[in-house]
């Protein structure tokens, strides 16, 4: 679920066409399209986005929702900030009137999306809610990969969601941390990200099982635990060499990189320098989906989806907003999609505080 629309087709065709969302918001949808349990009326937006993406992923995988109910299915979701809208209104009421809304409070726990999706889909296997700021989507999917690889579930839905919120926009806007124009990922002239929202969920299965049931396989992925480097606790690492050392083995044979760059100068600088060092001069196509979707903590889940789609189609989508001289001389795909023989794509998964949870996807067959 993205600002480009609902479902994979809208996302992918929008990315390839270089469509720009006017406000970074997921277009309106009927709650009842995705929330079918008696609790459906109460589900908050972040959880609803995650649920919608989960249902769409199952449909895309050719799996009936009933088929995944039970303890053989796992669920790993990530979010950076969770349910912001209802948290703000809960606090407003608390501070204005000293009253707290008991119907809203259960929605404010960070794992509300996990709870609602397990209830709606009847998933009783291993579940986890992870939070890793800018790498929340990648971290959740990486955790899901570990769950399946360890044989703890036959099937795992994994991904993340984060929502747009006026208070967040006000906080970042007042701190002058958002772009005044459009986001320019990996462009030296970038003046900040634009906010977006959305949810991405992938269906993970053991490769052999997927082949056996004749599933359409976008890509395959190995578990990787991620790594950490010295960095300011609340900021971006400044030692690109340390990040490059961790990424180098993963990008050694990469044919495309789906960067998390958003138009935030310290973030983009770190990622660009690290990729330049790690790629060691190879002109690997780089693209940044956040130029289209805007920035939100779980956007990395959409990066993973885009990387998988790229491997399946042999097309790398263009980055919106980047000028002709990207940072670090990276080969950023601009202006038009790039066709290439793609066997391996990497999502770096960088986050503040020195965190890195990369994913390496490979084409199949």
């Amino acid at each position: 679920m993205s600002p480009l629309g609902h479902g994979v087709e809208a996302f992918w065709s929008g990315l390839l066409a270089g469509r720009r969302s006017p406000d970074g918001a997921v277009p309106p949808f009927e709650r009842r399209s995705y929330a079918r349990s008696p609790l459906g009326r109460r589900i908050d937006r972040t959880s609803l986005l995650a649920l919608a993406a989960a249902r769409l992923a199952l449909a895309d995988a050719g799996l009936a929702a009933e088929a995944v109910a039970g303890d053989g299915t796992g669920l790993c979701l990530g979010t950076a900030l969770g349910n912001l809208n209802e948290t703000a209104s809960f606090l407003d009421r608390l501070f204005a009137r000293g009253a707290a809304n008991p119907l809203v409070f259960p929605n404010l726990v960070l794992n509300a999306p996990l709870a609602y999706v397990t209830i709606e889909l009847g998933i009783t296997g291993p579940t986890a809610m992870v939070t890793e700021e800018e790498a929340s989507g990648e971290a959740a999917i990486a955790h899901g990969v570990e769950v399946v690889a360890a044989g703890r579930a036959r099937l795992c839905l994994a991904g993340g969601a984060d929502e747009l919120d006026a208070t967040l926009a006000a906080v970042l806007g007042e701190a002058r941390l958002l772009t005044r124009g459009v986001p320019r990922p990996l462009d030296p002239a970038a003046d900040g990200p634009a906010l977006g929202e959305g949810a991405g969920v992938v269906v993970l299965e053991p490769l052999a099982a997927a082949r056996k049931r004749g599933a359409r396989i976008y890509a395959c992925v190995e578990p990787h635990p991620g790594f950490a480097v010295p960095a300011p606790v609340h900021g971006w690492a400044t030692d690109a060499g340390a990040v490059a050392a961790g990424l180098r083995p993963l990008v050694r044979d990469a044919d495309a990189v789906f960067a998390g760059a958003s138009g935030s100068p310290p973030r983009d600088t770190l990622e660009a320098e690290a990729l330049k060092l790690a790629l060691a001069g190879r002109p690997v196509p780089v693209t940044a989906v956040r130029g289209t979707t805007g920035d939100f903590g779980a956007a990395g889940a959409l990066d993973v989806a885009a990387a998988a789609l790229a491997l399946a189609t042999g097309i790398v989508p263009p980055t919106l907003g980047t000028g002709p001289a990207p940072r670090a001389g990276l080969a950023v795909v601009r202006e038009a999609p790039q066709r290439a023989a793609l066997r391996c794509a990497v999502v770096p998964g960088l986050a503040r505080g020195g965190m890195c949870r990369p994913l390496r996807l490979e084409a199949v067959g």
Binding site: L39, L110, N111, A115, V130
Partner: protein, 411 residues
């Protein structure tokens, strides 16, 4: 799903910051004395019917030598709790700089920096500040605590932060165990941290989930939970690696199980389906039959619903033997420390195993008649040799985690 590996993982370091005091010694002493740390709520004002909590009593010293002053000022109280507990655990485990460099972090939390953030939000909305003070809100992302621990203590292994309500740090311990079993790391610091905040306190009170008096887990007159705060940390280590470097092994993580109710955002499954599954899966993972369990450290939150469902879970798994298995709730002394509960109660259980000393259930005046036959350890200070214990955490949203722990040298 059955697991192939049942290798035990060693616990070689412990740290804690709780309402009973600033370190593990204070915690263990308080547990042994049966002291209830639930007292008046002083951290902030609250206009509801409940006015008590188990607050961490004093300013907590934290190791900030490696952290820039500007960063230190922006750490939340939850970050500080995590740092203090983590520092104690790393010291306890004797981790030098080289070992710390490779140590992974798995952290569980629920409120993070919400106390600081809600206050900054309030001030802005009330016009007391003319701009949002972003510097006061930097602890909002829960993963900040893990970043703070990593940077302050020099821990640069893989890192993950979980938030599954009350089972968050139990899940962190489970994940750290898996990482070591899979050979992804030889050392992992599992941490749980949480701090009281107005949002959470008001929310639980609005749900009528809080007891206006200190909570009474398993009592027939129990009325709800008491909120607490704090942090605990455990150094988990590959057992061979621990033995090779001569580390003191407190206990072993023998196994764990995670299962989901898929039932309701707050209410537990009436038959405890997920809790039963988690307990059974944990015992199977540990290769331990129910007959070998010597002690159960319960979730025991003190709500009418939880305790009833939990006893049902224990009866389902332990059967007729249950009256001979001591069961106690540490929440009777520390309140419900939310995201920190899994780790705090694991530390308590580890020390119980090592000391052969049962943590009590305090405030228990009259057990519910439905379980008059159970041994709820109403008196502190009972000494019993313990080899195997389980500790369970049940989170909002039906997320259930059970850990099986074994005394070093006994299993």
């Amino acid at each position: 799903m059955p697991r192939a590996s049942t290798r035990a993982v060693a616990i070689t370091g412990l740290g804690a910051v709780t309402a009973l005091g600033p370190d593990v010694r204070a915690l263990v002493t308080g547990i042994a004395e049966g002291r209830c740390a639930i007292g008046p709520l002083t951290l902030f004002s609250h206009a509801g019917r409940c006015r008590i909590a188990a607050e961490v009593p004093e300013a907590v010293p934290v190791p900030l030598a490696a952290v820039a002053p500007a960063t230190a000022r922006r750490l939340s109280r939850a970050d500080r709790f995590a740092l203090a507990a983590a520092a104690e655990a790393c010291r306890d485990a004797g981790l030098d700089a080289a070992l710390r460099q490779q140590t992974a972090i798995a952290l569980g939390a629920t409120t993070g920096g919400m106390r600081e953030t809600e206050e900054a939000y309030r001030r802005r909305r009330a016009g007391e500040d003319r701009r949002f003070r972003l510097g006061r809100m930097l602890g909002t992302p829960l993963s900040t605590s893990a970043a703070a621990v990593s940077q302050a203590l020099g821990l640069f292994g893989p890192r993950v932060t979980f938030s599954t309500a009350c089972s968050s740090s139990a899940l962190a311990i489970a994940a750290a165990t898996d990482a070591i079993r899979a050979g992804r790391t030889r050392l992992a610091l599992a941490i749980g941290t949480d701090q009281l905040c107005r949002l959470t306190y008001a929310g639980f009170d609005a749900l009528q989930a809080l007891d206006p008096e200190p909570c009474r887990p398993f009592d027939g007159q129990r009325r709800g939970l008491s909120l607490g705060e704090g942090a605990a940390a455990l150094v988990l280590e590959d057992a061979d690696h621990a033995r090779a470097r001569g580390a003191r092994i407190h206990a072993l993580v023998l196994g764990h199980g995670t299962a989901t109710d898929a039932y309701h955002p707050t209410a537990p499954h009436p038959a405890g389906a997920g809790a039963v599954a988690a307990l059974r899966a944990a015992l199977a993972d540990a290769g331990v039959s129910p007959e070998r369990v010597d002690y159960v450290n319960a979730h025991g939150s003190g709500t009418p619903q939880n305790d009833a469902v939990e006893v049902g879970v224990l009866r389902a798994v332990f059967g007729r033997r249950l009256p001979r298995v001591p069961v106690s709730s540490t929440k009777s002394q520390l309140g419900h420390t939310l995201g920190a509960a899994g780790a705090v109660e694991a530390v308590v259980t580890v020390r119980a195993l090592g000391d052969g000393l049962l943590p009590p259930t305090v405030n228990l005046r009259t057990p519910d008649p439905a379980w008059a036959d159970l041994d709820l350890v109403r008196e502190p200070g009972r000494r019993v040799p313990l080899a195997v214990a389980v500790t369970s955490s049940y989170g909002f949203g039906g997320h259930n985690v059970t850990l099986v722990l074994g005394r070093a040298g006994a299993v």
